[in-house]
């Protein structure tokens, strides 16, 4: 094993020279971050583990080119994101059909206005959701809701709303018109908001 006193720079040098223990010590503190980023894009699949493995090999291969201009964790995270996006492009998406998720949260009357507005409970995001987020109680609900989304909507939501990509960058990466990206993003947001509202108001697991 490498000594505990080794700095990250020492570990990078040793790992680049083929020291697998140093590579483990270098990557382990950031492994949860790397895996989490990949899992958000690919979901709970064997693909996520394969993509992480590919990403770790790429990180090792590119270590001699790491110049220390950014933090190692940020540099490695970018490689993990690229690996996940490459995996996403290559995998067969048999079920990735545009499903008719609602664009709006009804019910509506014939004129398109809300019905039963007096009885409609209002989801106080700022209050109730904040408490649940603090207690870590929304993660499972959100992961399940993300898994419900078609891949084409999930990727847009994750890149735009979770990874903070610019709309133009998402459109360029997915080779879509910005209008199509906005529509997919809206469908994803509508479904996620519905699931979160059900969870917050109904207390469902």
């Amino acid at each position: 094993m490498t000594e505990a006193s080794l700095t990250e720079t020492d570990l990078i040098q040793r790992a680049a020279q083929g020291d697998s223990d140093a590579f483990g010590d270098l990557v382990r503190p950031h492994l949860a971050l790397f895996h989490n980023g990949i899992q958000r894009i690919l979901g709970n699949s064997a693909d996520a583990q394969d993509a992480l493995q590919d990403a770790l090999l790429s990180i090792h291969k590119d270590l001699p080119r790491f110049e220390g201009r950014s933090r190692f964790s940020s540099w490695g995270y970018k490689i993990c994101m690229n690996s996940a996006l490459m995996f996403r492009r290559s995998r067969v998406r048999i079920q990735d059909m545009e499903r008719p998720e609602p664009l709006a949260l009804g019910p509506f009357d014939a004129a398109g206005h809300h019905t039963e507005t007096d009885r409609r409970p209002e989801w106080q995001v700022e209050a109730q959701a904040h408490d649940l987020v603090e207690r870590g109680e929304l993660r499972d609900c959100l992961m399940r809701a993300l898994d419900e989304l078609p891949d084409s909507q999930r990727i847009v939501f994750v890149l735009k709303d979770v990874e903070d990509w610019e709309m133009e960058d998402v459109a360029r990466h997915l080779q879509l018109a910005p209008g199509a990206v906005r529509q997919r993003l809206h469908r994803a947001r509508a479904l996620l908001q519905t699931r979160l509202r059900d969870h917050v108001l109904g207390g469902r697991p």
Binding site: Q49, Q53, L56
Partner: protein, 84 residues
């Protein structure tokens, strides 16, 4: 509200509204509707809060899950094999 867009119409275009992608007259109609409609303004607040809720809820856990540790162990084994 007959001259204003319906709730369904407003909610269908809320992401475009938030992204500033609508022409002025559409933006104005939706803006006025949101001032008058408690339910649609609640939906708007929900959409605006969603990125924060998602980021906070989906942040990385403290420890890597078993499958991630296994992936690292596999890569280390490959590196050891390659260095022989």
């Amino acid at each position: 509200m007959t001259l204003l867009p319906s709730c369904h119409d407003v909610q269908t275009h809320l992401t475009e509204y938030l992204e500033g992608a609508l022409p002025f007259h559409r933006r104005l109609g939706i803006g006025v509707h949101l001032l008058l409609c408690r339910v649609c303004s609640g939906v708007l607040r929900g959409l605006q809060a969603l990125p924060w809720v998602a980021k906070a809820s989906l942040k990385a856990p403290e420890t890597a899950p078993e499958e991630a540790r296994r992936a690292l162990a596999d890569v280390q084994a490959l590196l050891r094999k390659g260095s022989r």
